[in-house]
């Protein structure tokens, strides 16, 4: 009917974009299948949840929600600066890393500028690159790890404005240590910005990643409260870098975008170091459970410094996709990568024992069903 109307024209760039959703939410699958998931192990959330002290702080805070949050995120910025031995102007807080990635791409990318990511790397970052007209160059993983040499070579070859590296990696879980990262940064053109997404940083083995006080003039480090801290639903992440880089965010960020409950919860989560240590152990135990479940089915897993484990289904992408679908049919939510080589994997996030037991049971049947299918 509406072809009789004239609509105001969006920009040619926006007109050219598809209406992509980088990730379908588990809720959409539930609505489609008509069944609630029995285990939510697909979005790399932290099923152990935030600290009881954070839950308590949130329960005490609803009377504050009529107020806009502090646009400077002053308390949280200063708490993080103190924790990491940084200056407050070396940090900026945003409503989740996804949003910060968009703000970063907007800062550096004009249509046609080249951006490098691993092939099969974080889709939401690629979504932002496309959204600002960037030209994405994708570099295959090497032996299930980001190929630092090839990423650096591509940065030089294409005079890339940005290189994105998730370390620890998502969706693989593997990582490079401090020495490798430092050498990688040194190898990059100084005009190339490295977006070093360390969303899973708290879950890496101790002393494997560079100290948080470590900054480089062409690096923005990203951290979040969504993973180890168990606050994915509240949307709070931050970027760390030289103040000259951090200042740029204030030019275009949504100043009031971090919600008041996120500010309150994140501050309390930071203060509760004891719980963080405990939950890291729980996550370790859960990852070991996933490894064991895979092993019982004769399958190998990739090493993981995150809150998930990538299970190698041992055959091709078609088979692993069938396994995924059989799991979803059994109301177990997991996700998987779809690009070649990685597509043999399914990615299982940690969760409480009960949920992993449900996964274990369903997984054996799913492997059989996928084999028959």
């Amino acid at each position: 009917m509406s072809d009789k109307y004239v609509f105001p024209a969006v920009t040619p760039l926006v007109a050219s974009l598809p209406s992509t959703v980088p990730f379908t939410g588990p809720e959409a699958i539930e609505r489609k299948t008509g069944h609630l998931f029995r285990a939510r192990l697909g979005a790399n959330e932290n099923g152990f949840g935030p600290a009881p002290s954070v839950i308590e702080a949130l329960k005490n805070s609803p009377n504050e929600v009529w107020k806009y949050g502090d646009p400077e995120n002053y308390d949280l910025t200063n708490a993080l600066a103190e924790l990491y031995d940084l200056k407050p102007n070396e940090l900026t807080i945003g409503p989740g890393v996804d949003s910060l990635l968009g703000v970063i791409v907007r800062q550096y990318i004009e249509p046609g500028d080249v951006v490098i990511n691993s092939l099969g790397g974080y889709p939401t970052f690629n979504y932002h690159v496309a959204g600002f007209g960037g030209k994405l160059v994708e570099v295959p993983y090497l032996n299930d790890k980001a190929d630092l040499q090839a990423l650096s070579d591509a940065a030089h070859k294409y005079k890339a404005k940005i290189v994105y590296l998730a370390n620890p990696d998502n969706p693989l879980g593997t990582w490079h240590n401090e020495n490798a990262i430092e050498a990688f940064i040194k190898s990059l053109p100084e005009t190339t910005l490295l977006v070093l997404d360390e969303a899973y940083g708290e879950l890496a083995p101790k002393n494997e990643l560079p100290a948080m006080s470590k900054l480089w003039p062409n690096v923005l480090r990203m951290r979040t409260f969504s993973k180890a801290y168990g606050l994915a639903g509240l949307r709070c992440g931050y970027a760390i870098g030289f103040s000259e880089l951090i200042n740029m965010f204030d030019k275009i960020r949504d100043h009031f975008s971090v919600n008041k409950m996120a500010q309150i919860a994140a501050l309390q989560a930071l203060a509760d170091r004891k719980y963080l240590e405990e939950v890291i152990k729980k996550i370790e135990t859960a990852k070991q459970q996933i490894v064991t479940i895979a092993g019982k089915n004769g399958l190998k897993t990739l090493p993981s410094a995150t809150n998930f484990v990538a299970i190698d289904c041992g055959r091709d992408g078609k088979f692993a996709t069938a396994v995924l679908n059989e799991l979803i049919k059994r109301q177990i939510f997991v996700r998987k990568p779809f690009v070649p080589v990685l597509d043999r994997l399914i990615r299982v996030s940690v969760g409480p024992r009960k949920e992993l037991d449900l996964f274990a049971e369903a997984f054996s049947y799913a492997l059989i069903a996928a084999d028959k299918g």
Copy 2:
């Protein structure tokens, strides 16, 4: 020290932008003065807060915050569609109107494109226009109301891509009725998008604004949970329009940006129609109190269809600024417009009786002090 470093170059557009903050938060003033505000009446928040049923829902929801929110905002979208007799694809939810305004400007504006706003109109909208390189043309208010004829003339003259109109207006509080708005829309070029910001829409006199089911092919209507619903700190707003316009948001929006507690709170707030009616009455009473306070000081106020009242301090901008500063010195947070003609006003948001009494007391002294100063 850092002049020895090379930093990756941001785009020329971003490089050209100042590090503006559209609004300084009251928290920043508190930190600067070293005193907490005794009354928070400056940010057009709703000091009566959300419904008790919403507070209850929030207290019951912290165990959900480890999960990402539904990226489709399905439940809230459908509840709004039902309430307003719209199709779900005629609505999109975002983390506050501020954020949605940024997404809209990004959709339509390329560097150099003209955008029209009232002179002294919403600064955060202008911030986004600058942020995407738009050229802002500002049209003076006429008799303390948006000058619809002049806005329309400017849209034609400059072939504007967007015209922004807050109705009811911020910072004035005045409004145009349905007939005037319909005539205004009819008068615009069909290639010009009208961003009709109705953040205060629930607070307008009944039947003054167009019914919510009313759509036009070149209009996006904006609504929020920050004002009447008392949820400013949770960040939740929405845009309404033809599905052809709403579809565009999915191309560039941050899909997971609406936080889980906002989704839960907004859904409950919508369901509690009784509280909404009650709080609208409380806001009316509070506005009448502000009018009375002004009157006792021999001052006039502008008519208001919002949750604030603009008091005409009766002299020039310098005097009104002095009054504002004297109020802040007395720990009363209010704001004021600074552009000529409007600059004679201070803007006082509603709040509970106790806070308005504090304002009343401080205001008399502030007027005397400003007069002496």
